[in-house]
């Protein structure tokens, strides 16, 4: 690693809050990546009749366990449990609910308050809140990461082209962006989602239409500045072509600004997805999402565990990301020793 990056790493580490936030966030993210193994309505492992079954990976029918139907086994059914336990055993995950598992044995009408069975209670359709939070966290982060990746890609390319060539290209590009950013994003999203059944990728595409613009100005400014650097001029005098100059000499300059900006695009993307879900124009029905949980909290004010849990998870996630973003910004600050 070259000395500049070493110093940046030092700077990043010296911001304790951001450094620990990164560790904590990474832990949460990796933890939720394996959500299926933490919270599921299928056992992790079944030992039945001297053979091993992995229900999370493979699908088994009831008849595999000497049941009656050719449909997939419902391991939460006490009848199936009995059958399996007769000739072996089951290893359950920490939480025996998936995000869509409905608990039919609730002692009170849904939404049920926190209990030993459902740690944070259930939502108004009897689904476990902890399970939905774990899956919802994962989908929010994955969505935000993908969106950030693509909007950075588009933003950097557009900004680079505008900044590098300048002149008419820059002028036209800037005006298009101004008009485009004047469009009322949320209404457009709402209109568009009434045309198509929104899925993960549809939402990503629709939000990408507008989220790429944030970076353009930053990257463009960096390229405009770098255009007159002497080492860029020197590279041109060596005979390097435009693409080479942009990629090798100017992009690293813009990367600092880009990296500093990225955590904030990430939080923006999470906020965007959550608000769409809250309004009911987001992820398809039934998918675990924090926004939907907040909406339930609003609809069920007598069940405060819904709103509070969603709020805590969402604010924790955003706060961690902002702290990380601050540390990244510090790390790239040339004035900071």
């Amino acid at each position: 690693m070259n000395p500049i990056n070493q110093r940046r790493l030092e700077n990043f580490k010296s911001n304790r809050r951001g450094y620990w936030s990164l560790w904590f966030f990474s832990f949460l993210f990796i933890f939720t990546l394996f959500a299926e193994f933490i919270s599921n309505d299928k056992p992790l492992l079944i030992y039945y009749d001297n053979s091993v079954y992995l229900p999370i990976i493979n699908t088994y029918t009831e008849t595999d366990f000497e049941g009656d139907f050719e449909t997939e086994a419902d391991y939460r059914d006490s009848y199936i449990q009995e059958l399996i336990n007769k000739k072996g055993w089951m290893l359950w995950p920490m939480i025996r609910y998936s995000y869509k598992t409905i608990n039919y044995d609730l002692p009170v009408p849904a939404p049920a308050p926190p209990s030993l069975e459902n740690w944070l209670g259930t939502d108004d359709q009897g689904r476990d809140v902890v399970a939905r939070l774990i899956y919802g966290f994962r989908i929010s982060i994955l969505f935000a990461l993908t969106l950030t990746f693509f909007s950075t890609l588009v933003g950097v390319v557009v900004g680079a082209i505008q900044g590098f060539y300048g002149g008419k290209i820059d002028l036209v590009g800037q005006r298009i962006i101004e008009i485009w950013s004047g469009l009322p994003v949320l209404y457009l999203l709402i209109i568009l989602s009434s045309f198509v059944q929104p899925s993960f990728w549809w939402l990503l595409g629709i939000m990408l239409l507008f989220s790429w613009m944030g970076l353009v100005d930053v990257v463009r400014a960096e390229f405009l500045r770098a255009r007159n650097f002497e080492y860029v001029r020197a590279a041109r005098a060596l005979g390097l072509n435009n693409q080479g100059i942009m990629f090798k000499h100017m992009l690293p300059n813009a990367m600092v600004a880009t990296l500093t900006f990225m955590p904030f695009i990430l939080t923006g993307a999470i906020g965007g997805l959550t608000s769409l879900d809250f309004l009911g124009f987001g992820m398809p029905l039934g998918s675990p999402s924090l926004g939907e949980l907040i909406a339930q909290g609003k609809a069920n004010l007598h069940a405060p565990w819904l709103g509070i849990s969603a709020f805590v998870v969402l604010s924790l996630m955003l706060t961690l990301l902002v702290f990380i973003g601050e540390a990244v910004r510090d790390a790239f600050d040339p004035k900071k020793a």
Binding site: N2, I4, E230, Y231, R233, A234, R236, A237, L238, A337
Partner: protein, 541 residues
Amino acid sequence: MNSEALISVKDLRVTFTQGNTAIEAVKGISFDIPNGKTLAIVGESGSGKSVSALSILKLLPYPKATHPSGEILFSGQDLLQLNEKSMRSIRGDKISMIFQEPMTSFNPLHTIEKQVSETLLLHKGLSGKKARERVIELLTLVGIPDPETRLSAYPHELSGGQKQRVMIAMALANEPELLVADEPTTALDVTVQKQVLELLKSLQAKMGMAILLITHDLNIVKQYADEVVVMHHGKVIEQQATEALFKSPKASYTQTLIDADPEGSPAPVASDAQTLLETKDLNIWFPVKKNFFGKTTSYFKAANNISISVKQGETLGIVGESGSGKTTLGLSLVKLLKSHGDIVFKQQKVHTYNQQQFRPLRRQIQIVFQDPYGSLSPRMSIQQIIEEGLIIHEEGNHKERKNVEERELKVIQALKDVDLDPETRHRYPHEFSGGQRQRIAIARALVLQPELIILDEPTSALDRTVQSQVVDLLRNIQQKYKISYLFISHDLAVVKALSHRVLVMKQGEIIEYGDCEQIFDSPEKEYTRSLIDASFYYAAN
């Protein structure tokens, strides 16, 4: 210690702390400045001379900077013990400062009058008509022509020399007892440099203030300083009265500073040398104004009707003050700027080529830039910087083992040619000094085995002693590889040491063009003569 001393610095140390590392920038210096006298601190960049001067005004970035020891007695008070508020009443009133860079020391949005009268308002409470009268008086004092009309001028409307004069006027506004001048002339043209120094001298005689002059050029202090402190790496090497110092310097380092002017002359060009580069009626005009239909109506003529030629193995020096168009000319020859007129390189009509057609020729015409700090990408190692050109012009796959090794050998050879240790090729530019970086930039040009190198002020950002080393290096390289140089500089001493022929430019026009010796010995034009006089004025004495 001298009881009449206006200011007396004793065992001053300055340490900069950065994280866990502490850098000792000044390692204990002591000096006195008596009333009305001039003391000069001379040293190369990084010697701690500016830091010493700034600590007098306590303008260092505290608390990053600390003084482990030392005291600065100014009329009985230890400045280092004073708090910020009392310091403020001293700054600009009793002690004033002139900075190196007149271009950036002004606020571009305020008029001259406002900026000069600000210090009057702060310390004297003057405003309105009285302040205006005083500003006019000050501007007259520093020799600004027609001061009444200049009051409403903005900094960009003044020339570099005029700006430095206004800076001096600001510093003198409250008749300070001590004036700290930190490289007051480094950013100025030679002819202006002399005027500014003379102005300071005459003002000192008039107002009787003491001056602390900070500079890297030992020779200019000869005329102006009563005592000289020579600094090197934060330590005082020598401290003597000026006359004694020049007559019999005690330290050998001082001697190298005195002898730092580049000397010698280039080896003669072979008589059968072919013409390598030729231009005919080259015009470089930048559009300034466009009319309603988008047609350009007026131009800024950066270079006008330039016809030059360079032979193989020959150096053509291009000389002029800032704004004369010499750099513009250099850049347009390698098609980094648009120009009109004929450029012929090795019988090829380069001016008809577009960028793509010209690209293969770039290997043969290389350019070395002025600023060795800016021209090397901070994110690439020396090896990567030097081999970049090779990769661009290489046939075939540049990741192939054979090519990688071949390139490495070429880089090593180029580093040897510029007298750098080839083992340093895996380091990054920031680990090198200015002179070493300029060598790296020359190696980058050299590794392509060009036939012509355009050197755009390659020595002006360097210390005087390093300059002559680079000049020697360039001369040796020319002899070894028979490369032609186009040497652009405002420094006539360097040009004289390196050029066979010289082109003198002023405001985009050729003033004089001919044999180097002839021009230096018997210049035909008045402008050339004044340039030569100003350049060699200090060295000659």
